[in-house]
Every structure is written in structure tokens, then in C-alpha cells.
């Protein structure tokens, strides 16, 4: 008879899980594996709420395994290390992002691109090497292989740094990979949410001129005064759009709802790049003439490899980049999910696990 989540592993754990596609989360007792030779165990202090968590608890992508403990922007303090661990020691501040395992022998793994390994294991809702389901960071304790542990410098506020583990790398990686992380480039950021606001901060830190492109004029002040964007383009305003045609080197599109990319392609200069980070479920219309006539491209990107995530965290620490967050106790999580579905958050919820989880069980 299959073991229950509580019995499956030797170390007790508590968290909040969704039981079905209603997506409603509630307290959940389960267990974590013993600390292996290469494992790092840490007590979770904070966990960011990523929009993917919302997609997964509601099984919107059809891949969810219930009960589902989400959370892949996990930070905390090391409590135990395996005998062969070199990277960190007890007391260090660490984090885990979207990936906790891979094959380590394919071309992608050998190029520090574990996230693209065909056998890549997600931090939650996936099948681990031992056949058990992975549970994420809406929980009190976490254990992960050293390779998937990120180090946080002492001076970084852990709560505001947690979202870097998914949102941060998701914008950092394509800015580097697609050659957009260079001074003087004009970068557009479409959508001002978890990804978008961090995208503005990184692009500015790379020396780019940044324009926020949004359908909501209410975001203009935030974009310019608070986040430091150089300009704001209201995409529903034809005049503003036309005045900006052919002026962007790159555009990061963080919008996952269905939308037209034709105006965005028009905004690109020749040889410009539109990078899709949000993933609408259905195909979008690709206008071919403008793509060819301007030698433009539409590309995608998803998080990044472990080496690059560490590089991103170090870069963020150096440039004082963290997310703008709303800290919540764990029992607010369902309300937070409702608000997230309406885009009502500036700009990431972060669960104060350390101070609220134990008391909720």
C-alpha cells in the first residue's frame, strides 16, 4: 500500500496544500527526506507567490498532482548540511527556485542549463528521483541537493529577495541571452506585475533606457516615479503607439493573457527582439511581413540555469535590486491568490512563513 505524504519520508513537515482544482489551500501535514550527503536542509523563512503557483493550484495547465504544495521562490536559513556539502554551512541564508533536480549528464546540464534538461525536476508537483512527489515552499522546512541551493549575501533583505528566484531570473536571463543587457539599449517592458517591475529594475541597472508599456494609465506614476522607468507608453493610445514605432531594441512581454503582438513588433527597431515571458495558452497571430521587412524576431525564455541564477542574485545584491512586495501571513494565502488573479498586488505577495506557518498548524 502506498505511503501517505506524512509517512513517506522520515522528517516531519507542515505546509499548505491545494487538494483539488478549486485551488483552495489549507494546512497539510507531510514529510521530507532525510538529509543526504549532498543535501542542504533549511528552515523556510519566506516564500514568494508566483503567478505560476496560481496556474498550478487550479490545474490550468493540466499537469497538477494533488495534494499540491506550491512555492518556488523559497528562502531561509540552513539548519543541516550533508557530509559532502561544500557550498554552504549551518546558519547561511539560502534559497531554492523552480528546479531541484536534473540528469547532470546531458549537454544542457553540462552547460549549466539544468532548467532545460529533458529530465529536469520542478520544485513542486513533479516526480523526484526516488519516485515521490516534490513539495514546494509554502512549508516550514525544505531540503535540496546542494547544486540547487542559491546563496544570499548577508545584506540582502530576504523577504524582498525571495521573488528574484523566479521573477528575477525570468527577466535577467533573456536580457543577457538576447544581447539586450547593454548600456544605451532601449528596452520596453510590457505588463507591470511581478515580472515586469523586476524587469524595469534590471534593465535600468544594465544601463538601458526603459519604457513601460501598459494598458492601464493608472500605472504611469508608479512606473516613472517609483520604479525609475524613463517613460510610459499607454498601448491603447494609437497616437503614442505611432510616435514610438521602430524605437525599441528589445521588448520583454510579461503578459500571459491573450493579446496582439502586432503593435509590439511595430515598436521594435530593425533587428529588434520581442521576448515572450508570459505564456498565453493559445497561439498568437504572427504578422510575417513586419518580421521579415525589419529582420525582427519573436523569442521565448523560461527562468535560467543554476549558475546564472547565482550570478543574478549577486548582481542584484550589488545593485540593490529586490522585488516590491506585500508580506502576508500564511492564512491570507487564499485571499492573496484571489487578488493575484485580478492583478491586485504591488508587485509580489511574499508569505512570512517563519512567523506564521507554525502557528497555523
Amino acid at each position: 500500500m502506498a505511503k501517505t505524504p506524512e509517512e513517506e519520508h522520515p522528517i516531519k513537515a507542515v505546509g499548505w496544500a491545494a487538494r483539488d482544482s478549486s485551488g483552495v489551500l489549507s494546512p497539510f501535514k507531510f514529510s521530507r527526506r532525510a538529509t543526504g550527503e549532498k543535501d542542504v536542509r533549511f528552515r523556510v523563512l519566506y516564500c514568494g507567490i508566483c503567478h505560476s503557483d496560481l496556474h498550478m493550484v487550479k490545474n490550468e495547465w493540466g499537469t497538477s498532482i494533488y495534494p499540491l504544495v506550491p512555492g518556488h521562490e523559497i528562502v531561509g536559513e540552513v539548519t543541516e548540511v550533508g557530509s559532502r556539502v561544500k557550498k554552504v554551512k549551518v546558519g547561511d541564508k539560502v534559497g531554492v527556485g523552480c528546479v531541484v533536480g536534473a540528469c547532470h549528464s546531458c549537454e544542457n546540464c553540462n552547460n549549466d542549463l539544468e532548467v532545460y534538461c529533458p529530465k529536469m525536476i520542478l520544485s513542486y508537483g513533479a516526480c523526484y528521483y526516488d519516485g515521490t512527489v516534490t513539495y514546494g515552499g509554502y512549508s516550514d522546512t525544505m531540503v535540496a541537493d546542494e547544486r540547487y541551493i542559491l546563496r544570499f549575501p548577508e545584506n540582502m533583505p530576504l523577504d524582498a529577495a525571495a521573488p528574484l528566484l523566479c521573477a528575477g531570473i525570468t527577466v535577467y536571463s533573456p536580457l543577457k541571452y538576447y544581447g539586450l543587457a547593454e548600456p544605451g539599449k532601449h528596452i520596453g517592458v510590457v505588463g507591470l506585475g511581478g515580472l515586469g517591475h523586476v524587469g524595469v529594475k534590471f534593465a535600468k541597472a544594465f544601463g538601458a533606457k526603459v519604457t513601460v508599456i501598459s494598458t492601464s494609465s493608472s500605472k504611469k506614476d508608479e512606473a516613472l516615479e517609483h520604479l525609475g522607468a524613463d517613460s510610459f507608453l499607454l498601448s491603447s493610445n494609437q497616437e503614442q503607439l505611432e510616435a514610438s514605432l521602430g524605437t525599441f531594441d528589445g521588448i520583454l512581454d510579461t503578459v500571459s493573457a491573450m493579446h496582439s503582438i502586432l503593435p509590439l513588433i511595430g515598436l521594435l527597431k530593425s533587428h529588434g527582439k520581442l521576448v515572450m515571458l508570459g505564456a498565453p495558452e493559445k497561439p498568437l497571430e504572427l504578422p510575417v511581413f513586419p518580421l521579415l521587412m525589419g529582420r525582427k524576431m519573436v523569442a521565448g525564455s523560461a527562468t535560467g540555469g543554476m549558475k546564472e541564477i547565482q550570478e543574478m542574485i549577486d548582481f542584484a545584491a550589488k545593485h540593490n535590486i529586490t522585488a516590491d512586495i506585500e508580506v502576508i501571513p500564511i492564512d491570507y494565502v487564499n485571499k492573496a491568490m484571489e487578488r493575484l488573479a485580478k492583478g491586485d498586488v504591488r508587485y509580489r505577495f511574499v508569505i512570512d512563513i517563519g512567523n506564521s506557518l507554525a502557528s497555523s498548524n
Binding site: 532545460y116 505564456a279 504572427l286 529582420r295
Partner: protein, 359 residues
């Protein structure tokens, strides 16, 4: 009163033009400008028939100005040079491709990317600096500014080399720009026509493994035995497509009809690149998930700049690359257009202008 095509310029010219969107071509008297200080006059020997010519004569894209004399794969001989011309002398064999003018000042022009200049002037159906319409290579002679004329290598046959001036550069440029030239990598070529067959040849010259992707199983023999492709994939066979998923580093998509991108994206490995070169008259559907999860890209490209086109011609001369052509007489051009519409050509018609264009 606006001058007629015959009167607009001082030198008489003769060619074949389409008068309306039926696309039917017929003899046409017009004129060419005086050979200016920077110009060369070229007697046209051969002109390739590009699928764009067919789109334009039928006004498929909605911007044709009739009467239109198509043709932008021109090979000929210099008969006159302006006094400031340095690169050419009378008797030189030269080529003219898709463009004959640009602003020379913008970022694109400054980077030898005249083809992306917002004020680019095309060899036909464009407004020249003097406000007159440009007429293309289905004609006896053309006057072109020196910097838009290419040296045609002596060891390249002028008939089989003519299609390089559009088909050749259209494939060569993105292969270089998008980095599709690493020996040992796997290139897929979708569509085996004018562009596709040249892409196979370039792919092999770059040391790539090449798979032709086509809906027609009967092209397999040609692809493998004559063009030298390594493999052939029938895209309408779901089982074969499934096996091939995630095996290609690059895909050159030459299909100009509306078609599905999703299966092609599935063929790409991680970080794979799909370059689409055909110009369908409606948008294509682009699934975003595979782009995001596989860090893939879909890019466009449109011919190439003058410097790169010359580089491509020299590369072809070095590697013995020419197009596979069917030489036709000018008076058979309408039949050629009909056959082209049905893809019934291996793989480019080339008009033997000098030997068949008569008044």
C-alpha cells in the same frame, strides 16, 4: 500632364510588363534615365523569375503599381559607366538584385544593411529618387547607381547564377545572421523550391547535416540524390514528425503559403531557431509555450545588404554553388508564371533575355 513610360526618360527601353492584376505580361515600351555620373548601364543577359514577381504582377500584396516590369535577379554586361564610377568598366559582367537605392545615412545603411533602410528603393515597383517608377529586369537594359551593382564572378555561369541575386542572398543572409553555420549542426529546410533548394546547397557548404521537410514525398529522390540533402521528412506524416521532434538546431522555412508553425517549432532542439522567409498574405499562428519552454526563436529576414550579397556571390563562386534552373524564352514567361504558381519548376525559371527579347 504626367509623361508616359516611353517619354519619361531619354533612353528608349523595351521589356515585358503586366498591365493589371490578371498578371499577364506582354511587350512594353518604356524608357530609362540618362546614365548619370555614379551610374552604370547594363545590357541584360539573364533574369530569374522570382516568386515575388508572381505575387507582384497579380497584386497579391496590394501595393503594385501597373504597368509593372518585374525582375530582380539580373545578370548582364556593363555598356556604359558614369565619370565617377570606379568599380566597373565597360564589358564587366555584373548583377543587380532586389534594391537599387537607399538613403545612405540611417543606421541600417551605415551598417551595410541597405535592404533594411526605411527608404529603400526596390529594383521594380518602387519610387526612385526622381519620382519615377522603377522597372525591373524583364527588359533589355537597366541603369543602376554603381553602389547597388554587384561584380558577377567569372567562374559563375550567368544563367544559373542569376537566382542567387534574390534566392541566394535571401537564404545566405539569415543563415549567417542567426548563426546557422556551425559545422555538424542539423538544419531543416522546409519547402523545396527556389529558396529551399539553394538553402540545401548552402547548408551542405557550411558543413551542416541537412534534412528537407516537405509535404510532397515525391521530392525525396531529388532532395537526397541530386541536391545532396542527408535526409527527407514528410511533414504530413505524423509518425515521422514525432520521431524527428527536438532534433534540429535550425530551420529555414521557405514556405510562402499560410502554414502551421507549431510542428516546425516542435522539430527544434532547445535554443533552436526558425527563420521564416516566405511572405504569406495572412498572419501565421505562433504558439508561445514552445518558445518559452525551449528558449526558441522565430525570426524573419529579407534579402541582404550590398556588401553581404557580394560576399555571398564570391562564396558561391568558391564553392561552385548555383541554382538549378529551367531557361526560358521571354515569350514563354506567362506559361512559366502559371507553372510557378503550381510549383512546377526545378527550381527557378531564368529568362534568356538577350537571346529572346525582341521588339
Amino acid at each position: 500632364m504626367a509623361k508616359s513610360p516611353e517619354e519619361e526618360h531619354p533612353q528608349k527601353a523595351f521589356g515585358w510588363a503586366a498591365r493589371d492584376s490578371s498578371g499577364v505580361l506582354s511587350p512594353f515600351h518604356f524608357s530609362r534615365r540618362e546614365n548619370g555620373e555614379e551610374d552604370v548601364t547594363i545590357k541584360i543577359l539573364y533574369c530569374g523569375v522570382c516568386h515575388s514577381d508572381l505575387h507582384i504582377v497579380k497584386n497579391d500584396w496590394g501595393f503594385t503599381r501597373f504597368p509593372v516590369v518585374p525582375g530582380h535577379e539580373i545578370v548582364g554586361v556593363v555598356t556604359k559607366t558614369g565619370k565617377n564610377v570606379k568599380k566597373f568598366k565597360v564589358g564587366d559582367r555584373v548583377g543587380v538584385g532586389v534594391l537599387v537605392g537607399s538613403c545612405k545615412k540611417c543606421d541600417s545603411c551605415q551598417q551595410d544593411l541597405e535592404n533594411y533602410c526605411p527608404q529603400v528603393i526596390f529594383t521594380y515597383n518602387s519610387l526612385y529618387h526622381d519620382g519615377t517608377i522603377t522597372y525591373g529586369g524583364y527588359s533589355d537594359a537597366v541603369v543602376v547607381e554603381e553602389c547597388y551593382v554587384l561584380r558577377f564572378p567569372d567562374n559563375l555561369p550567368p544563367d544559373a547564377g542569376a537566382p542567387l541575386l534574390c534566392a541566394g542572398i535571401t537564404v545566405y543572409s539569415p543563415m549567417k545572421y542567426y548563426g546557422m553555420t556551425e559545422p555538424g549542426k542539423h538544419l531543416g529546410v522546409a519547402g523545396l523550391g527556389g529558396l529551399g533548394h539553394v538553402a540545401v546547397k548552402f547548408g551542405k557548404a557550411f558543413g551542416l547535416r541537412v534534412t528537407v521537410i516537405s509535404t510532397s514525398p515525391k521530392k525525396e529522390d531529388e532532395a537526397i540524390n541530386r541536391l545532396g540533402a542527408d535526409a527527407f521528412l514528410v511533414s504530413s506524416d505524423p509518425a515521422k514528425m514525432k520521431v524527428a521532434m527536438g532534433t534540429m538546431d535550425y530551420i529555414i522555412d521557405t514556405v510562402s503559403a499560410v502554414h502551421a508553425l507549431a510542428p516546425l517549432l516542435g522539430l527544434l532542439k532547445l535554443n533552436g531557431k526558425l527563420v521564416t522567409l516566405g511572405l504569406p498574405d495572412k498572419p501565421l499562428e505562433l504558439p508561445i509555450f514552445p518558445l518559452v519552454l525551449g528558449r526558441k526563436l522565430v525570426g524573419g529576414s529579407d534579402v541582404g545588404g550590398m556588401k553581404e550579397t557580394q560576399e555571398m556571390l564570391d562564396f558561391c563562386a568558391e564553392h561552385g554553388i548555383t541554382a538549378d534552373i529551367e531557361l526560358i524564352r521571354m515569350e514563354n514567361v506567362n506559361m512559366a508564371m502559371e507553372r510557378l504558381a503550381k510549383s512546377d519548376v526545378r527550381y527557378r525559371f531564368v529568362i534568356d533575355v538577350a537571346n529572346s527579347l525582341s521588339q
